[in-house]
């Protein structure tokens, strides 16, 4: 389907910015059993931080593991098998944090059941639990057309990419639906582009790469349109 690059959307897209302030809660786990116990007891905001928000707080480029628990298993416990199990755990498969909590507890309980020793982290490598507060602010960047959307995507900070693409998948509660593809779908249709955007595996891209991938996909689908924003 061809689209006029200047076609107006029914609803403009407002880019939001998201400023995260991590808050250490002063609790730590030295071994796997302590991690399990903490996951049973700590608030959902703590789980939410370590599964989602930590990605915005700090993330190594080209990180091998998709969440902080898997990373800790690999780097601190040096338990590759557990790290593998935790890497394939996807919180987006669940509807709420209670289910996420139960699922990760199940993985750890199963794992501990089968092993003869409890893996320990060396001193200094304990798992430090945090939660976060968030300031979410409507930026002054707004798109009425796909052309303006591409321009906006280049202008906003990476936190906006996190907010609209990563956190939105959880906030909207619909599998793989993010703010960007939702806006394109409801305003312009473009099912192939929408499917391609929803097909991005967010665990294997940094926020910067996600921005470039999105621009690349739009470029690919609407070639001429995006070239005009270069």
């Amino acid at each position: 389907m061809k689209i006029n690059p200047d076609q107006l959307a029914e609803n403009p897209f407002w880019f939001y910015e998201c400023f995260l302030m991590p808050m250490p809660i002063g609790k730590k786990a030295q071994n796997l059993r302590e991690l399990l116990q903490a996951l049973r007891e700590l608030g959902e905001s703590v789980l939410y931080y370590h599964f989602f928000q930590s990605r915005l707080a700090i993330a190594q480029p080209a990180e091998e593991y998709p969440n902080e628990f898997a990373l800790w298993a690999a780097n601190a416990l040096q338990d590759s098998k557990l790290a593998e199990k935790l890497s394939s755990f996807d919180p987006f498969d669940y509807e709420n944090m209670a289910q996420v909590r139960q699922a990760v507890i199940d993985i750890l309980e199963d794992y501990l059941w089968d092993i003869l020793y409890v893996p320990w982290a060396r001193s200094g490598f304990e798992f430090q639990f945090c939660e976060a507060s968030n300031v979410v602010m409507r930026s002054q960047i707004c798109a009425h057309t796909l052309l303006e959307f591409c321009e906006g995507l280049r202008k906003v900070g990476l936190d906006a990419i996190y907010y609209h693409f990563f956190e939105a998948r959880w906030r909207l509660g619909v599998s793989k639906v993010d703010d960007f593809s939702f806006w394109i779908e409801t305003n312009f249709g473009l099912p192939k582009l929408v499917a391609a955007i929803r097909g991005i595996d967010i665990y294997f891209y940094s926020l910067r790469e996600i921005r470039n991938t999105l621009l690349g996909l739009i470029h690919q689908h609407l070639g001429e349109l995006c070239e005009r924003t270069q």
């Binding site: 730590k28 707080a57 200094g124 202008k155 906003v156």
Partner: protein, 407 residues
């Protein structure tokens, strides 16, 4: 002095605009920053950059410094060391002096503010006298307080508990306190004398002055000569490397004058480096920022083989210069370096030697890791991020019970 817009080519225009939007929400809020020195040390370095930037963003900012005599600073140094876990003796008379000097300083401060940010323990006691003069009191701890000496922490805990919030640099430094604790990671200023770009001629000039030849690859460690930085371990690693590959080692830094073990460690370093022309030991002045910058840029590989470390800003500085860093797997170095990604973590002189050899033989890998490291620093550890965190913190503190504030 650099202005906010000078940072745009480094961090991107969008980051600068974002700071402005955040600051606009705060308007002309009054912020007082208090510490104990205007020059020297990491805190003064950060404040000397952050305060003008916050002012440019429209906040009403004042930087106050408390004054004390040598005796007072001996007491606060002892408190500082005790917070880092050293065994030190602090008598009741010393604590009385601490309180008294804070009381004297408090008399001079007549401002009223929306936020007061008190840096480290030296001025922490001011809250006892000045509480009504500000709406929010925030204690900003820059020290590695992960294992503080118990009695001193109990003394300080009573003071800090009166604050509305505290801020630590790493989650492991957080303590049991009756208020919310936040995490603001340290940062470096990319435009400062220590980090700005240098021309090859500027670098050459410094090396000539310091008598360092560039005929072999240079391995560099910049740090004080204290036991936690393990300079002797670096020399051991260098000797292992030298059996295979020619290279030069430069150990540059200041004397640890406040460390009772300082002279002994320095003597050990000199002994370990004896009869080895390819090891150069440089004693630098505390303000030799330009020299450190040039050395880091000239080095092929940078080592920070600490056995204990707070955050490790020397690692951040080296990464910012696109260098591959080999660091001890401790403190904040663990957060910054990841094997084959942003650098290498090591646990022993042998490990350090092995990684040096690897990088000497794989210069293309060293370049690749250095490039990734530089981008990692650009995103997370530059002063603009720290300023953004201060602004965010102030906005959040106005509704401290809300976890998500939608503006």
């Amino acid at each position: 002095m650099n202005g906010l817009n000078d940072y745009a080519p480094v961090v991107g225009q969008e980051v600068i605009e974002q700071l402005q939007r955040l600051a606009d929400r705060l308007g002309r809020r009054r912020l007082i920053q208090i510490n104990s020195t205007r020059t020297g040390g990491g805190v003064a370095e950060i404040l000397s950059r952050a305060v003008p930037l916050l002012e440019q963003l429209g906040l009403d900012v004042k930087w106050e410094v408390i004054h004390g005599d040598q005796q007072f600073f001996e007491v606060t140094k002892a408190i500082h060391n005790a917070l880092q876990g050293h065994k030190v003796t602090i008598t009741p008379a010393m604590l009385d002096l601490y309180r008294e000097i804070n009381r004297e300083n408090a008399r001079k401060f007549t401002w009223e503010a929306d936020f007061v940010m008190v840096n480290d323990p030296q001025p922490a006691y001011l809250i006892n006298f000045l509480r009504p003069q500000a709406k929010q009191w925030i204690w900003r701890c820059h020290i590695d307080a992960s294992r503080p000496e118990r009695n001193i922490w109990k003394f300080l805990q009573e003071i800090v508990s009166q604050y509305d919030a505290s801020v630590f640099s790493m989650p492991q430094f957080a303590q049991s306190l009756p208020h919310l604790q936040y995490l603001i990671r340290p940062s470096i200023d990319p435009l400062s004398e220590k980090n700005r770009n240098l021309s090859p001629a500027e670098i050459r000039k410094v090396l000539d002055r310091l008598g360092i030849e560039q005929d072999k690859p240079i391995i560099l460690q910049v740090s004080r000569f204290d036991s936690f930085k393990d300079p002797v371990g670096v020399i051991q690693a260098f000797r292992m490397v030298r059996r295979h590959t020619p290279c030069r080692l430069v150990l540059a830094g200041g004397e640890a004058t406040d460390d009772p073990e300082g002279p002994r460690i320095f003597a050990e370093v000199m002994e370990a480096a004896k009869d080895e022309p390819d090891i150069q030991i440089l004693l630098l002045a505390p303000d030799a920022h330009h020299e450190v910058n040039a050395l880091q840029r000239a080095a092929d590989i940078i080592v920070q083989k600490s056995t204990r470390e707070g955050f490790g800003l020397t690692v951040t500085e080296a990464m910012w210069k696109g260098k591959t860093v080999i660091g001890g797997a401790v403190g904040g170095i663990v957060l910054q370096l990841r094997d084959y990604n942003t650098g290498f973590l090591v646990h022993s002189p042998e490990g350090c030697a092995f990684r040096i050899r690897y990088l000497l033989h794989r210069p293309e890998m060293a370049r690749r890791l250095g490039k990734i490291a530089q981008e990692f620093v650009r995103q997370h550890f530059l002063i603009t991020r720290e300023v953004r965190d201060y602004l965010t913190l102030m906005i959040l503190r106005e509704s401290p019970n809300e976890r998500i504030m939608e503006l």
